[in-house]
Point group: C2
Chain length 629, copies 2
Amino acid sequence: MTTTELHPDAGLDALADLAAQLRVDSIRSSTSAGSGHPTSSMSAADLLAVLMTRHLRYDWDDPRSAVNDHLIFSKGHASPLLYAVFKAAGVVSDEELMTGYRRFGQRLEGHPTPVLPWVDVATGSLGQGLPDGVGVALAGKYLDRLPYRVWVLTGDSELAEGSIWEALDKAGHYHLSNLIALADINRLGQSGPTELGWDLDAYRRRAEAFGARVLEIDGHDLAAIDAALADAGRAAGDRPTVILAKTIKGRGFSEIEDKEGWHGRPLPPDMAERAIAQLGGIRNLVVRGPRPSMADHAGPRTAAPSSGAAMPAYPVGEKVATRKAYGDALVALGARDPKVVALDGEVKNSTFALEFATAYPDRYFEMYIAEQQMVAAATGLAVRGYRPFASTFAAFFTRAYDFIRMGAISLADLRLAGSHAGVEIGADGPSQMALEDLAMMRAVHGSTVLYPADGTSTVALVEAMADTPGISYLRTTRGAYPGLYPAGEAFPIGGAKVPRSGDHDDVTLIGAGVTLHECLRAADLLAADGIAARVIDCYSVKPIDSAVLTAAAEATAGRIVVAEDHHPEGGLGSAVTGALLAAGRKDLSVAHLAVSGMPGSGTGAELLAWAGIDADHIAEAARGLVRPE
Amino acid sequence: MTTTELHPDAGLDALADLAAQLRVDSIRSSTSAGSGHPTSSMSAADLLAVLMTRHLRYDWDDPRSAVNDHLIFSKGHASPLLYAVFKAAGVVSDEELMTGYRRFGQRLEGHPTPVLPWVDVATGSLGQGLPDGVGVALAGKYLDRLPYRVWVLTGDSELAEGSIWEALDKAGHYHLSNLIALADINRLGQSGPTELGWDLDAYRRRAEAFGARVLEIDGHDLAAIDAALADAGRAAGDRPTVILAKTIKGRGFSEIEDKEGWHGRPLPPDMAERAIAQLGGIRNLVVRGPRPSMADHAGPRTAAPSSGAAMPAYPVGEKVATRKAYGDALVALGARDPKVVALDGEVKNSTFALEFATAYPDRYFEMYIAEQQMVAAATGLAVRGYRPFASTFAAFFTRAYDFIRMGAISLADLRLAGSHAGVEIGADGPSQMALEDLAMMRAVHGSTVLYPADGTSTVALVEAMADTPGISYLRTTRGAYPGLYPAGEAFPIGGAKVPRSGDHDDVTLIGAGVTLHECLRAADLLAADGIAARVIDCYSVKPIDSAVLTAAAEATAGRIVVAEDHHPEGGLGSAVTGALLAAGRKDLSVAHLAVSGMPGSGTGAELLAWAGIDADHIAEAARGLVRPE
């Protein structure tokens, strides 16, 4: 196989050849796989040919170089194009393209994921790549202070996602001139024409209104593309750039150009053959575009870490809200580690992220009420090696669930803190009560779910989260409750505490967060009845401490009460019983107390009682297990 | 208590009095409750005074009247204002306002919910009221064909939510001139100034770019408000109207006007006293605004239901994808019931909602790729008594989780169908694989979660969903699998099937959807080894059939294999073991097979094997239970 090398000074003819190669390879890989999106790749091939040859500053031999530009395919289904780019860059072989795409055990997945070293984030759930790119660009402008640009290829269908507008809004607000969206306006979605078709003016008005500079081009005019990318790539001014490229789906093969019914369909082999012929056959151009340079940049802010910064400490018995302890701990972490950054969704005075924002304003990003963008920005910041902590009311993380799920697929280390969990919050009512969050977060791949009951354990867990891979979630409580543990006590992830136990316990009471306090009160009530209760603090809901649970089941003849301020499904009770069954226990008598009804307003105490998860109900359930009627 | 009645012809002085009353009552109720958002209420009091007196066509004695206008507080935290409006309308007493607000067991909750007859949807998770209003307006314009208007009060902070722009985009696309957003631009959010402050021009550009007609007013100028509401209320043209009202937070009490630090804080009693004095004291005006009329409207489209329309039938053994059966069944339901409507997120050719869209284009609403708006529109359609079925890939319902959660609090009956569940989808990779949806949907209050394995059961369950209250969710599969049940077999919600059993079963295999087929194959493999397996089809994951599970556990000495194409947490396995423990089983030996790793691409069969949930792994797990080493 002979290859021809292309350099940034290659002429437009050579770029046209490269674009044809990207189209041909998109067709070949998807036809060979029997699935994929060739037509969505062909519309953007000209954009990518010019970008990779003349504008993308990228050291393909060192994908982790800090000065590389970033390239994100927000339209992840155009993976055939992305992988064709990788072949043209010489980092993926033609053989891999033809035998690896969409195959089991291979890295060229149906939609790009960071198992590939040149991919920052997983895409394929539309409307996420641009929000993720905002996070990378925030890092570039405010933290790394490096001149890299973030190029994001978006589709047009995905511009219907609100998250795109959250992204442009924040890109404008934060003056991210280093962010460039290439919008491939090919008019056709999956099941029919897009809402706005080729009405580029409509897109222009929207993008401009949200703070972007807009360039409109014919997305198949190489000279126009080149001029627009050069303009955008200067990253001048204080606005992000959106390049609206009018394109044709399936461009390059006359039989399918601009035709409906070809989304997500590979060409049958005979059509593929005709298409490849029409595109001038198979090529093997290799491109070496501009390389990034370390020269002429301000360089990252390097705050000297003060490793001695003390974590906050709270006396046993003194009341502190775990959400307050979260804020305190985050400030201490921030002093130790300049990579720690924080984001919040305009509730920072409630989540106590305000403390971090006040102490380290340069490392705090206000996302206003845009939870999707908040999680996406955290993902982008994690791409650049930062340790983001993102907070809002626990209930409002439901708004960002798709982003959290995709964060896991992106192999991003995200630290999420949800405050105001459960009915405990009281008067605000059900819209503000997180009652699904434990289920939601436990179901995320590789997640860690933490639910501390006091200040000391909160501090320890926040500290642990800084080094926890994957999605970690901390559930905090609105109200202040007495400190249970002395400062400095260890709370390893995956562990549990046994704040009360004896040699002859009759029953085990399991709680976390506010229900742990109720369990302790219940144990007092039971003691007055002559019933000895062991109490377990399941501060680590996932992973859960199977050994402590099993020992308790063994000690108390399988009699277990689990109480949680959460709906009955998928939360603490589910985690506890799952672990015990997996450990082979056959003696279980479990009373599972959870929030089954639809709560209203009230005081926290009234609602805990109403839900049947307060000390009285826990004690009553325990009595029922110990002394069945 | 003397009351003065106000009529639509009341002068501006009287309106000013009413506005002062609304402010005073907002202060009184929140101070009496010790929590709430008086300042966010005071900024919008003038808007509501004029609206309720002169423009809102509403029969307060008949809140269910089909011709009433709709009033939605998207800024649900302004509940003190809403409840003050209800007092002014004479439907809530002053005593209830002063003793019921935010109290346990009372209906004047911290954020409005439909436990109140004048409230359409629950709000309080910001950015949802306007999307919900789009659904109501769609019903008004296209289905009811009634002249009611939908008035939505939004805050300014919530305009940062992408869902707001999804809503305006769809309102423009569907020419919803019957939708009027009153945006209360008071400049201050919860924790500080909003992103755009009083830059009304910025909001104007955005709203216009998204297809709205925009009116800018001083939100405290009663004459200007009146003119704008009159203009908007004509519902002329083909665009929604956004009224941008420049307002002052805390307006009416000089000590707190436009001051930070007063969000979500009731006035202390001494301040409240001064505020009430400054506002002219307590009033008891009662308002009777314009009443709606049945005259001069086109009236609803009344398609005669053809109750005899046959549900689709599939032969046993013939392969059909459950997603295809969903589409088929929906068409049949549509023939029977003119209240059945459908929505999809631009994947209708994959979910097979396309069949309904083709058969009943007047009752199909394309939401493009905007899943949040899709669920919100369904909620609004449900408000008007329609039976919405909304579909997208199961994975992408994660995008709308907050809307689903709030749909439950809104007491909306929503029917959601998620296709392409699990690793079974194969080549597209993890971004498209729903592996959290069962956990997510089970955790929703009052939800029903269904997961059929063949065409016959799918048809029966879709039919059942039409009459199912609350949030019901149908999980469908990409691939086609053989029909298992004869047409017409009953599949009650909460039931389970036992497609294979004998008098001396050794082990129970439990599956749903694709894993049921794997369980049946595993039973064949086991039979060849002399092991008799009972197989259970858990098509109803929530509620689950405890009786069938318990009987199987009893018959097979507690030996149970559960296999699910879902992450291990919160799904089928969790539902099964939860039910068995709740039933008091102590003999359980459970092997729970689920998707633990991070999948890539491959064929469905390869991925089921990789995940350890195919027939071979199920059989192996069963052997391990029956003949432990």
